[in-house]
Amino acid sequence: MGKYIIRRLIQSIPTLFGITIISFLLMLAAPGDPVTLITFNPTSTPEATERLRRQLGLDQPPLVQYVFWLIGNDWTQIDVDGDGTGDIYGTRQGFLRGDLGQSLQHKRSVTDLIAERVPATLQLMLTALIVGYLAGIVLGILSAVYNRQWFDQFTRVLSVFGNAIPAFWLALLLIIIFSVNLKVLPMGGMRDVTRPEVGFDIAERIRYMIMPVFVLALGIIATVSRYVRAEVIEVMGQDYIRTAYSKGLPQSKVIVVHALRNALIPVAAMLGPALGSLLGGAVIIEQVFAWPGMGRLVINGVFQRDYPLIMGAVVIGAVFYILGVLLSDILYAWIDPRIRFS
C-alpha cells in the first residue's frame, strides 16, 4: 500500500508541472502589459514604468520569468536603476516555497489572498460532496430496489435533469422562488453582515448554505445515484446474494450487509472527478450567491486582468484537484486490493 501511494505521488509531479507550464504560457500570450494595470495613472513617467517592470522581473526572458515564478528570485540581485549592477535582492520566494507573487489588483500576497478564501470554498464544496454522496447513494439503492417502478423512474428523470440543467440558472430560479417570493432563505452571502453583533450562529450559517449546497450537490446526486443503481442491480444478480436470500436473511440485511459492500466500490473511484466538477461548479455558484470564496476571487481577478492572482488560483485549484484524485485512488485501492497490483 505504501508503495502504491508513493508511486501515485511521483506520477502526479509531472502533471503539476504541466499545469504551471500551460497556465504560464497562456499568461504570456496575453496581450498588453500587466504593468499598465499598476501604472494606470497619467502622471506616471516611462522611466517609472520601466523601473517597475524590472522590479517585477517582467523584462526577463519568459523562461527566466517562469523559473523565478517557480523557485523565486531571492538568490539573485535585481538591477532597478539599469546601471548594470544589482541594487536589491529579489523579493519572490517562488511557488515551490509557497509564494505565488503579489496580486496587482489587491497589492497583497496572492498566497494570503487565496488562503483567506479557501475555507469558505471548502466549506461549500465538502458539504455539497457529503450531501451529494449520501443522497445519491440512498436514491440509487431505492431506485434499484424499486427497479422500474415510479420511484425508479423519478430518480432517473432527476438524474438526467441534474446533468442537463445549468447550475447558475437553477440557482437563479431558487433565489426567485425562495428569496424573492417566499422570503424564507437569504439571497446570497455567507452570513448576515448587517448584524455583526450576532456572532457565529450555526442555524444562520445553515440557512445561508441551503441553496448553494443544493445546487452544487445536484450534479453529484445525479451521477452517483445512476452509478449506484446500476451497480446494485448488477450485484443483486450474483450467486452470493441468492445464497444470502436462501439463508433466510431479510432483504434490508442482504442489501446493506452483502450487496452494498461491492456495489459501492466503483462509486469510491468517482470521488476524484466529483471534486473536479465541484471545484468548477463552485466558481460559478459562488458568483451567483455572492459566496466569499476562491471562485469569486478568481472571477474578479479575471475582470481586473490580475495575472499573478489568476495563475496562483489556477495552480492551487489544480493542486487541490490532484490531491483529491490521489485520495480517491488511494481509497479505491484500499477498498479493492486488486487495483494495487495491476
Binding site: 502533471t15 500551460i22 422500474r148 440558472w169 424573492v180 466558481v283 486582468r305 489544480a318
Partner: protein, 306 residues
C-alpha cells in the same frame, strides 16, 4: 456487423426473401424505435431550424425587431404582441431568444465538430504509434484533465477577447480530451485485430491502415461523443456567457441573456425562465440522443431492454 436474422417475406420476388441488414441499418432501425430519443432528436432539429431560419419569418409575422428598444413597454409579461414578453429595454424576448439560439447553437456545433476532429486525430495517432508519442499525449491529457475546465476557460477568455470565433476555438481546444481518450482506447484494441495485421501483411501503408481500416470502426464512438460533447459545450458556453466572459451584449446568446436578467429578475421573472429553459431543453435533448445512440450503436448493449 450484420445480423443474420432472416425475414421471411411473402413477397413474390425471390431475391427479397433473405435480406440481411448492415450494421448501420440495424442501428438506425433500433434508434428509430426508441421513442424518447427520436423525440429528443426532433426537438433538436426543430430548435435548430427555428433559430437559423425562423427570425426573418417571425419578425415579419409578429412585427417585432431584434434590436428595437421600447422604453415604455419594458418588462411586459408574455402575451399579445410579444409572445414571451419584453426585457429591460423593451426588446421582444422571443425574437432575441431565436437570435441568441442561433449564436449559442452555432458555437456549440462548430466547437464540438472541431473538438471531435482534434480528438479523433490525436487519439488515432497516439494509439497507432504508441511508445513515446503516446506517452507525451497521455501526459498532456492528464495535465489538461487535472485542471477543472472552467479555470482554463477563465484564463483563455481573459487572454483573448471573446468573439464567437474565438470562443469556438477555445471551447474546441478544451473539449477534445474525452473524445481523444475514447478513440485511443478503441484504436488500441482495433490495431491488434487480425484484419489490420492482414492489411499490413499485403503492404498497406500506415496512412491507409489508419484511414481506411481503423477510422471507420471508430465511427460509432465518434457519433456518440459528438452528441454528448455538443450538449456539454452548450452548458459550458452558457456558463461562460453568464459570467460575462462569453459573447458580449448587445449580441444575444442564451447565456448572456441570463446575465442581463439577473439584475432585473424582480421585475421580469420571465426573463430568467425562458433562456434557461431553452438551454436545459437543448442539453437534455442532446444527452438523450447520445444515450439512444449508445444503445443503438453498441452491439454489446442488450437491445430491447429499456
Amino acid at each position: 456487423m450484420t445480423t443474420n436474422s432472416a425475414v421471411i417475406s411473402l413477397a413474390p420476388d425471390e431475391t427479397e426473401v433473405y435480406k440481411s441488414r448492415s450494421f448501420w441499418m440495424d442501428a438506425a432501425m433500433h434508434f428509430s424505435r426508441d421513442r424518447l430519443s427520436m423525440t429528443a432528436l426532433g426537438m433538436i432539429i426543430l430548435l435548430t431550424v427555428l433559430c437559423f431560419l425562423g427570425p426573418p419569418v417571425v419578425e415579419n409575422i409578429l412585427g417585432v425587431d431584434v434590436s428595437r428598444t421600447d422604453l415604455i413597454n419594458r418588462y411586459r409579461p408574455p402575451g399579445e404582441g410579444n409572445l414571451l414578453g419584453t426585457d429591460q429595454l423593451g426588446r421582444d424576448q422571443f425574437i432575441r431568444l431565436l437570435y441568441g439560439g442561433r449564436i449559442s447553437l452555432s458555437i456549440a456545433y462548430a466547437a464540438s465538430a472541431l473538438s471531435i476532429i482534434i480528438g479523433v486525430t490525436v487519439g488515432v495517432l497516439a494509439a497507432f504509434y504508441g511508445g513515446k508519442v503516446d506517452d507525451i499525449i497521455i501526459w498532456f491529457l492528464n495535465t489538461l484533465e487535472s485542471v477543472p475546465t472552467i479555470f482554463l476557460l477563465l484564463i483563455a477568455a481573459t487572454v483573448w477577447s471573446p468573439s464567437p470565433q474565438v470562443l469556438i476555438l477555445i471551447l474546441a481546444a478544451l473539449g477534445w480530451v474525452g473524445t481523444c481518450r475514447l478513440v485511443r482506447g478503441q484504436v488500441l484494441s482495433l490495431k491488434e485485430r487480425d484484419y489490420v495485421l492482414a492489411a499490413r501483411a499485403i503492404g498497406a501503408s500506415d496512412r491507409r491502415l489508419m484511414i481506411s481500416h481503423i477510422l471507420p470502426n471508430t465511427l460509432s464512438i465518434v457519433i456518440i461523443s459528438l452528441t454528448i460533447t455538443a450538449g456539454t459545450l452548450i452548458l459550458i458556453e452558457s456558463g461562460l456567457s453568464y459570467l460575462g466572459l462569453g459573447v458580449q451584449p448587445p449580441t444575444p446568446t442564451w447565456g448572456n441573456m441570463l446575465t442581463e436578467s439577473r439584475s432585473y429578475f424582480v421585475a421580469g421573472t420571465h426573463l430568467v425562465v425562458w433562456p434557461g429553459a431553452l438551454i436545459t431543453l437543448t442539453v437534455l435533448c442532446f444527452y438523450l440522443v447520445g444515450d439512444g445512440l449508445r444503445d443503438a450503436l453498441d452491439p454489446k448493449s442488450v437491445r430491447g431492454r429499456a
